[in-house]
Symmetry: C2
């Protein structure tokens, strides 16, 4: 049975699930940063998914990126499947701004995450669930 990697679980909040992906919000208030994790066993590389799952992953990734760019009025969306440190396949989607803490470099390894305050994360998860419900057919899931 699929289980979210422990490090991903510790660093994120669960927004919900699509029919393929767990949708996570990274606990770093510096950047709007969402992660898709296909709920499949023992997959590290996106090309290890079935062709159908690959198609769905990238379709949802594109919809997520488009929704984030519009909602946050971002200057750029960064999309990446790296996985050097956490083997479980996960795809980053980060809304970037010309004035953000890492621009124009990538966000990884720059400074330290700034955890959200409780009220802020409650408001943001509520907002993002509403924004993503339609484009991703997102259903809210209990955190497991």
């Amino acid at each position: 049975m699929f289980e979210l990697d422990g490090r991903l679980a510790a660093d994120t909040f669960v927004l919900g699930s699509t029919s393929l992906n767990r949708v996570l919000l990274m606990n770093d208030a510096r950047f709007p940063w969402l992660i898709l994790v296909p709920e499949r066993l023992d997959v590290s590389e996106p090309f290890e998914l079935s062709e159908a799952d690959q198609g769905q992953l990238w379709q949802e990734s594109m919809r997520l990126g488009g929704a984030m760019k519009a909602h946050f009025a971002a200057d750029k969306i960064n999309v990446a499947a790296l996985g050097n440190q956490v083997a479980q396949l996960h795809v980053h989607h980060i809304a970037r701004f010309h004035a953000d803490a890492a621009w124009p470099g990538p966000v990884w390894g720059v400074g330290s995450a700034v955890p959200y305050e409780a009220a802020a994360v409650e408001a943001l998860t509520h907002e993002l669930r509403s924004v993503l419900r339609q484009p991703l057919s997102l259903t809210e899931a209990a955190q497991h």
Copy 2:
């Protein structure tokens, strides 16, 4: 008419083209690093492509990643569409190794590129064109 961004052109060698993408080899001998550039005008984000082009981009990206992992016996493939510095849409594919110069971090901003020697890049481009001909339906193009 599509024209490759000047910075991408300066930093890479052209391996060829698919029916959608220009296929480039980054001139950095530290990492096997290939780039797909959809030959479309004024596109910065992958989700700005038509749905058909999005599907083809990711299908070719997955095939490229799989071919690179097998050919280089890589520990991990990093796939990323960042584009903070070069606006023209381009998708990085980097074969990563536990002993490489940036592991386990991402490659961007780490040290300086080590240009290939002429004989090495001639051999590698020949080899990669052969490896990618079938999975990507790659045709060799003159560098333009």
